[in-house]
Symmetry: C2
Subunit: 362 residues, 2 copies
């Protein structure tokens, strides 16, 4: 729900006023031209992806205040967005192409749209270098091409990581054919933000028929499953320097930490699945040492504090999820966490500076 | 993993020694004859349920220590089980037919097996009334027949609730054809334990191919989705007195509480799904007022304390998940929770006495 401030509300002071900068780490934009391609794809009915039809059929077709406000805001990388950031006390946005990005297109289209989106993003950052940081879009449909575009995005355009929106045509990144992407990210020292997508077609039916395929639940299941597949598939054993960020307080995997370890150990011991091979560490170790989480969509002290407690204070970052969850008072929820000023600075600012390799701003 | 005490370990004292009785609330048994029917069903290849094939193909086919120990223990309702309870300090087990119970059979077979299992369970309770309490099996394949069997189980056999193992042939209980079951439970004043099953066939593919369909993750997703469908489908508005218990610290729904409320409100406001109609209360209200959770499989202070904090101390009960997670030291984890003696008594004993209508034991 988009809930900008009403006239009687004051803007939340930023610029270090509270003792820290607020860096919002999962903030979406739509590149110019993207929605025209989405509309064409929806109209053509050539894509077998019920989740995409549900999600973008809604946002691009609905006249509801939620849909129209989001569609307006998400395409703006100029004064409107900066004004919204000013009103809600956000100093910087870590920007990424909105989900599912280019991952619904054929490989050639996806590659071209990713390059164009990255160029647009770099231009916006060049205009507002103190307000915007960017993550590169990439097309997993062509893993080698994606690796090249990530390298271009990081080395030439100054982008600080990669956004991947869960499944690509129902395929998951534990498949070794995608590993050139991880290899590039590890070599370049940049993180992957594993962002939600709607559940893939092989699992969406019981979700979408009940209206649960989107942000209410399906996003979290799809993305939690995906990260878990990456973990048990041995990706972090192969790429120990790889860092993956997930939003929404870790898509509930922190809550499952004990059970993941217990049942992974039991499953390995009994040799139940050929896919599931012994790992060098426990699932919880990868979650604590290779994974970072943000609180996008979860402006709720219990879940944020839980993640800090079980993963570590250095693993949890602030996110607003603009414009999907543009709610002024949710910023104040994070401001009011039961933390010291130094801890709040870590959560709002320093963890993001470290993870994305930003120059510390003091 | 089955990890009974080794000879050097002492039995954990029970009988009120710590200041409370330990009532374990999600404890499984297999009725005599059930596994023969499962073996026949697996061999016949007539059931289109990859989760059942994965789960029971493993337990009934594997020679691993985990599988063989569980298969031995689960069929015993006599001295072996009582000895295991004595060793691990368990005063009472709330017994239920193991998942997926009768829900994989045709309606006629399912009804007959449920009646037989309930009779066997009642006989075991009659032999050990101070150690066993039972939940009735029922066959959702025939909702009216299930309602009758629940009534027989409660009124004639003295059972204290109903066990339902998530989907029945891929169908979910939000479908109104199943509501006679909820009507009977509400009228009789007994709770439903919504126990995990493997994900239904319409969603299992991305789980099972990665070895994640079982207790490590798929169980939780299937059951969390199911409870959420029940909530957003309006079951608790129609049956406000209905109580549902879920294990595994609420199958992560307590962790999602904020997002469920936010996105449910946003989805209703935008009229996105015909299925999703306005409810009388927020999703979190049903979770706090109609739902109870147990810590089966989650012997982990952070998740248990989180549930107590966000749902209420009166909503969280102890469970061992015998014999699937028969680990002596996990009892000590619950004994060591940072709670007062009165709070531990509530968690281990009094909440279960109230929820299952047991005579308080002092």
């Amino acid at each position: 729900m988009s809930e900008p401030r009403t006239p009687e509300m004051e803007a939340i002071p930023r610029g270090g006023a509270p003792g820290y900068l607020r860096i919002a780490t999962e903030e979406a934009f739509a590149s110019s031209g993207l929605f025209d391609l989405y509309r064409k794809l929806l109209a053509s009915r050539t894509l077998d992806d019920p989740g995409f039809a549900s999600l973008w059929g809604f946002y691009l077709g609905s006249k509801s205040p939620r849909a129209t406000a989001i569609i307006e805001r998400i395409q703006d990388l100029g004064e409107r967005r900066l004004g919204d950031m000013d009103e809600t006390g956000i100093d910087m946005q870590i920007l990424s192409l909105t989900s599912p990005g280019v991952q619904v297109f054929d490989a050639a289209t996806a590659g071209a749209v990713a390059r164009d989106a990255n160029d647009q993003l770099a231009a916006a950052i060049a205009s507002h270098p103190d307000r915007y940081v960017g993550l590169a879009a990439a097309a997993p449909q062509d893993p080698a091409g994606a690796a090249k575009e990530i390298e271009r995005g990081v080395r030439r355009l100054g982008l600080r990581g990669v956004i991947l929106n869960s499944h690509t045509h129902s395929e998951y990144l534990d498949d070794q054919k995608f590993w050139p992407i991880f290899e590039a990210c590890e070599a370049l020292g940049v993180p992957v933000y594993l962002h939600p997508n709607t559940p893939s077609k092989a699992m969406i039916a019981p979700f979408v028929e009940a209206g649960l395929d989107g942000a209410i639940y399906g996003f979290g299941v799809e993305t939690g499953l995906h990260l878990l597949r990456i973990i048990v598939g041995g990706v972090f054993d192969r790429f120990p320097g790889l860092r993956i960020i997930v939003g929404h307080c870790g898509e509930a995997l922190p809550f499952w930490l004990f059970r993941l370890d217990y049942m992974h150990r039991a499953t390995i011991a009994s040799g139940r699945y050929p896919f599931m091979k012994p790992l060098q560490r426990r699932p919880s170790d990868y979650l604590r040492e290779n994974v970072y989480v943000t609180n996008s969509g979860v402006a709720w002290e219990p879940a944020i504090m839980f993640c800090r407690s079980v993963l570590g204070a250095d693993r949890v970052m602030y996110a607003m999820d603009y414009p999907y969850q543009f709610v002024r008072d949710e910023v104040l929820v994070s401001d009011s966490l039961p933390l010291t000023l130094a801890e709040k600075k870590e959560y709002f600012q320093e963890n993001a500076e470290r993870v994305f390799g930003l120059a510390p701003r003091g």
